[in-house]
């Protein structure tokens, strides 16, 4: 286990990340509008990105590991692309189902 002091800024970031992921998950599970679900997804992704930075701080409190920063930047770019694709799919879903209510979009079942 990594020795963590209470003052380590990495720890605060980890908590922030966990909170963001939980908020995102909550949004995805409870909201019925597909657009809101995507927003929840983005919140979750932000949490994950912050987690990357946080872990790099936890591992090397003094010397900051650039690998995770690089990964975070890649991840942010990918998130942008992901939102684009998701919204595009949402448009198609709307054309097909005439609704964005996730309870009505139930084709993926037995």
């Amino acid at each position: 286990m990594v020795e963590v002091s209470a003052l380590n800024p990495g720890l605060i970031l980890v908590f922030t990340a966990v909170i963001l992921v939980v908020i995102g998950l909550y949004t995805i599970v409870t909201k019925k509008n597909l657009i809101r679900v995507i927003i929840g997804l983005e919140i979750m992704a932000t949490g994950v990105n912050i987690n990357f930075i946080a872990l790099s701080l936890l591992k090397h409190p003094v010397l900051i590991d650039p690998t995770s920063h690089v990964l975070t930047i890649i991840s942010i770019v990918l998130d942008g692309a992901l939102v684009g694709v998701a919204l595009g799919l949402t448009l198609i879903v709307y054309r097909k189902f005439k609704t964005l209510n996730t309870d009505r979009i139930r084709k993926l079942r037995w």
């Binding site: 286990m1 998950l25 995805i28 599970v29 679900v37 996730t102 139930r106 993926l108 079942r109 037995w110």
Partner: protein, 683 residues
């Protein structure tokens, strides 16, 4: 040596193999030129290593190294505890093999340019053949067992694809009862049986020695002593020999080679003369050298296993030589006759290498027999390439490989007749062609070392060799034209000599088959660095006739062995002359008139029923077993039990798929939490 010659020799063809599809886009002529050029460039690089071997040292980066030199350039597998370095071994054996492979395959490439003109898959062909020789060069040049095994498998893969080159299985490409794709698969599977043994033996050796490197294996003896103490040395050595048995088509895994004729003739020439089947002989020779040194460190404790191993090598070789030659006597296809003769000649090489191993106590005798094997390897490569390429020219002209479709071709293809006759004379061991000197050296060594049984078997085989060679020549070139040939002439497709590219290759190889016989003592001198490495003093071998140009030829021509050779040749030629060349006697009448001969003929024609037996037991056996299992478990006995089982299981599980997005996401969250808990618990 040209810079990085041993590396270029094997890397260049492999790299170039994957560029032919680019050249094809530009021009098909460019693609053909690039492929042939690759072969010749690689050959020039290989040839540039010869002077270094003759000098006995190489200079790399200004540092002088004595041969054999293990040139390590990169760490191939950098795992701690398993650091395997990629290297090339520059020693007489590897350089000789590299040159044989590179030069002969280059001329075969030149020949293929014309031979395969107009075929649809030529880009694929070039890719595969270049990869083929690249893998073979890796095999002969690599300094460790593992890299060698990669080359070994690369050769197997390429040969599979090339034998099944006409994978569309059009009826005109069938040779015997099986379609080409089937033949490719048969070759692949049969050689794989041997490879499994080789792989197992390699890994066992690695467990005991911690290295794959030939030089390190030879320098230490602790591994072989522990193997001997654990009582598995014999097993390991025999497993190792399983690889060469499969690759070089020795009994009992010889069945694939006759079927390998289904590919284009150039491929057959490559497989038989330069690559593939020579790999087994090379490996046994290489391992014999390693074992020689190890034996002189470790002493008598390993001798029982070694002698078992070498007796097996010698006798499997001798028996295969006899077996294959007897099948060649009755074969009805020109390429199959040559295929059987390859198996038979490889048997000679194994026999003499096995004898060399048995004579490890006496350096002189060891060198004598070892070099005879290498001589035969060298001259066989040349004359067998020549024979196959001329057979290809004949087949190209008459559009069939059946001997009964030929006959009387001497009139129409006089140049092809001359070059093929040179090959045939070399194969039958008629002086002064190269096959005579090397085969005589083998028989001479066997006779001198009092290996009477082996000597008799191989001498009888030599008689059969002469007979089937001249039978083949007689049926193809002498006598009356067959109805097939007459039909071709009526249609206006008169058989004719091949064009310029094919002719160049044929003539170069034909001249090689005559001239190379006079350079054989040069090979002995070439191998001096190896013998110095083995710690044999020059006094032991400098006086041998093999090392002296004059005395080698004088001894060969004045010894009583010459009489044996003449008897062998006459015993083979006379019946072939009577039956097939002049047509004085009728072979069909001769065989069918006598029930005993009929039985023997049928036995030989069916290849001793070995092939039939394998098909009945292994192929049919597997098919029947799976049918039986299918019937019992699936349809009858089980009453669709398996299907019902899964259906009922699925009917419960599928209810998890509700289609509600949030339910699915809850599952994900639940899974994440579970994972988190598991990680926390495991620390």
């Amino acid at each position: 040596m040209l810079p990085y010659a041993p590396w270029v020799v094997w890397m260049l063809p492999i790299i170039m193999a994957f560029t032919h599809f680019i050249w094809e886009r530009i021009s098909t002529k460019l693609r053909d030129a690039m492929a042939v050029l690759t072969g010749f460039t690689s050959a020039v690089f290989a040839a540039s290593m010869i002077p270094d071997v003759i000098n006995g040292y190489v200079i790399i980066d200004g540092v002088k190294h004595h041969l054999p030199y293990d040139w390590k350039l990169v760490t191939w597998i950098p795992v701690p505890g398993l650091e395997i370095e990629m290297g090339v071994l520059i020693d007489p054996l590897s350089v000789l093999m590299a040159n044989i492979v590179a030069w002969i395959s280059s001329f075969i490439f030149l020949y293929s340019v014309e031979y395969l003109k107009g075929d649809r898959g030529i880009t694929r062909y070039w890719m595969l053949v270049n990869f083929f020789i690249g893998a073979m060069e890796l095999l002969v040049l690599s300094d460790n067992l593992l890299a060698m095994f990669f080359g070994w498998e690369g050769v197997g893969l390429a040969s599979y694809a090339l034998i099944g080159y006409w994978y569309e299985d059009k009826k005109k490409y069938w040779i015997g009862p099986y379609p080409p794709s089937h033949c490719g698969m048969k070759a692949f599977i049969t050689t794989r049986i041997g490879d499994v043994g080789l792989l197992a033996a390699m890994l066992i050796i690695f467990m005991y020695s911690g290295t794959f490197n030939f030089m390190e294996l030879a320098a230490h003896d602790s591994w072989i002593i522990s193997l001997a103490r654990d009582g598995i040395l014999t097993l390991v050595l025999l497993l190792i020999f399983l690889g060469p048995i499969g690759k070089s088509a020795q009994f009992p895994l010889h069945v694939w080679l006759p079927e390998a004729m289904a590919g284009p003739t150039t491929v057959s020439a490559l497989i038989h003369a330069a690559t593939m089947v020579k790999a087994g002989v090379y490996f046994v020779a290489r391992f014999t050298l390693v074992l020689f040194l190890v034996y002189h460190h470790a002493g008598e404790i390993i001798w029982p296993s070694l002698s078992t191993f070498f007796y097996t090598v010698a006798w499997i070789g001798a028996f295969t030589a006899f077996l294959a030659a007897s099948m060649g006597l009755v074969s009805d296809q020109i390429k199959k006759v040559l295929a059987y003769s390859t198996v038979s000649q490889l048997g000679y090489m194994f026999a003499i290498l096995g004898v060399a191993g048995l004579l490890m106590h006496h350096a002189e005798a060891f060198i004598d027999s070892f070099l005879s094997g290498i001589y035969h390897l060298f001259s066989h490569a040349i004359f067998k390439a020549l024979l196959f390429l001329s057979a290809g020219a004949v087949g190209h002209a008459v559009e069939s490989y059946m001997l009964k479709d030929m006959g009387g071709l001497r009139k129409y293809m006089p140049k092809t007749f001359i070059v093929m006759m040179v090959g045939a004379l070399a194969l039958s061991g008629v002086p002064p062609f190269n096959g005579f000197w090397s085969k005589d050296a083998i028989l001479h060594a066997l006779y001198a070392e009092k290996m009477t049984a082996l000597f008799i078997v191989l001498a009888i085989t030599a008689v059969m060799t002469v007979f089937y060679t001249f039978r083949m020549m007689g049926m193809a070139f002498y006598g009356e034209e067959s109805s097939h040939v007459k039909h071709l002439i009526e249609e206006g497709h008169k058989p004719h000599d091949p064009g310029i590219f094919m002719s160049i290759s044929l003539w170069v190889l034909a001249i090689g088959a005559v001239v190379s016989g006079f350079f054989l003592p040069g090979i002995s001198k070439f191998f001096i660095p190896s013998f110095e490495w083995l710690g044999i003093e020059a006094g032991h071998y400098a006086e041998l006739p093999l090392f002296n140009y004059m005395s080698f030829y004088v001894t060969t021509l004045t010894s009583p062995m010459l009489l044996v050779s003449i008897v062998i040749i006459l015993a083979g030629v006379v019946p072939a002359w009577g039956f097939y060349m002049t047509g004085k006697w009728d072979p069909v009448e001769f065989i069918s008139g006598n029930p005993l001969f009929r039985t023997i003929w049928s036995f030989l024609y069916n290849r001793w029923f070995i092939n039939t037996f394998y098909y009945a037991v292994f192929v049919e056996g597997t098919v029947q077993l799976s049918k039986l299992l299918f019937d019992t478990v699936e349809t009858n006995g089980g009453g669709n039990a398996l299907k019902n089982c899964y259906t009922s299981l699925a009917s419960y599980v599928r209810r998890l798929q509700t289609g509600y997005l949030r339910v699915n996401l809850s599952y994900i969250a639940l899974g994440l939490v579970l994972l988190f808990i598991i990680f926390l618990l495991l620390g």
